[in-house]
Symmetry: C2
Subunit: 156 residues, 2 copies
Amino acid sequence: MPKRDYYDDPAAPAPNSLVVAVAAVVLDDAGRVLLIQRTDNDLWAIPGGAQDVGETTTAATVREVREETGLDIEITGLVGIYSDPRHVIAYDDGEVRQEFSICLRARPVGGQIAPSSESQHVYWVEPERLDQLNMHRSVRLRIDHGLQQNSEPYLS
Amino acid sequence: MPKRDYYDDPAAPAPNSLVVAVAAVVLDDAGRVLLIQRTDNDLWAIPGGAQDVGETTTAATVREVREETGLDIEITGLVGIYSDPRHVIAYDDGEVRQEFSICLRARPVGGQIAPSSESQHVYWVEPERLDQLNMHRSVRLRIDHGLQQNSEPYLS
């Protein structure tokens, strides 16, 4: 379980770990975004998780979205690579993980919306409703980039 | 030091590690590619290396290119994300690292060509001369993708 999330905080511990995480901004034909409400902290987020050894980045993203939302997706592009060392997550065991996240753009191709142990709710959300939802600024940044469908990938 | 490189080999050991590596296809105004001849195995390659904890992906790429070629670069885009679990590198200490490489496109903005302990030679190479150079197929793939400047990033 995460101990604490720090963003650009002088009191943050120095990172000692870099783990590949993947996430997806999944958009349907109506331009809505696929969001989950996390079970661990009640925040809204895009589906994602750690890339496992033995799988590709795209396969990891497809798997995480399926696990957390019930939907099958097709990858359509790259939203961005987010690797800001000022954003760290400190865990109880002493690990201080630096942000490293690859965010892909995708569209739904099958499956049925279903919550999971990690996602208490799964919804398609209209972009104009995003401001009403409580989410981490780093998640909102990825969604905003993901909605700009014709722009270059964000690279940090 | 790498023990052995396996590609799509039924005899390859199973990967047990995923480390973020970065690399760059650096192109000059004449369309030439910046290549190094590696010191450890004499193969030709694009500059790159592991992303350190505490730096961004783009900063790691700029640093590695500077260390291995003497040149300062500006990142201009993403060539691709290469994460094929059929490509593994086995090390003497038991680590079997799965390929995970982010390849950026860049252009030179300063510095002077200089070899290093890891790069015995550094050259600007015309694309039509690539076939004459001994290089790993995974490196050639990145260069070929990097030369296609108007195509979508490769995502695996």
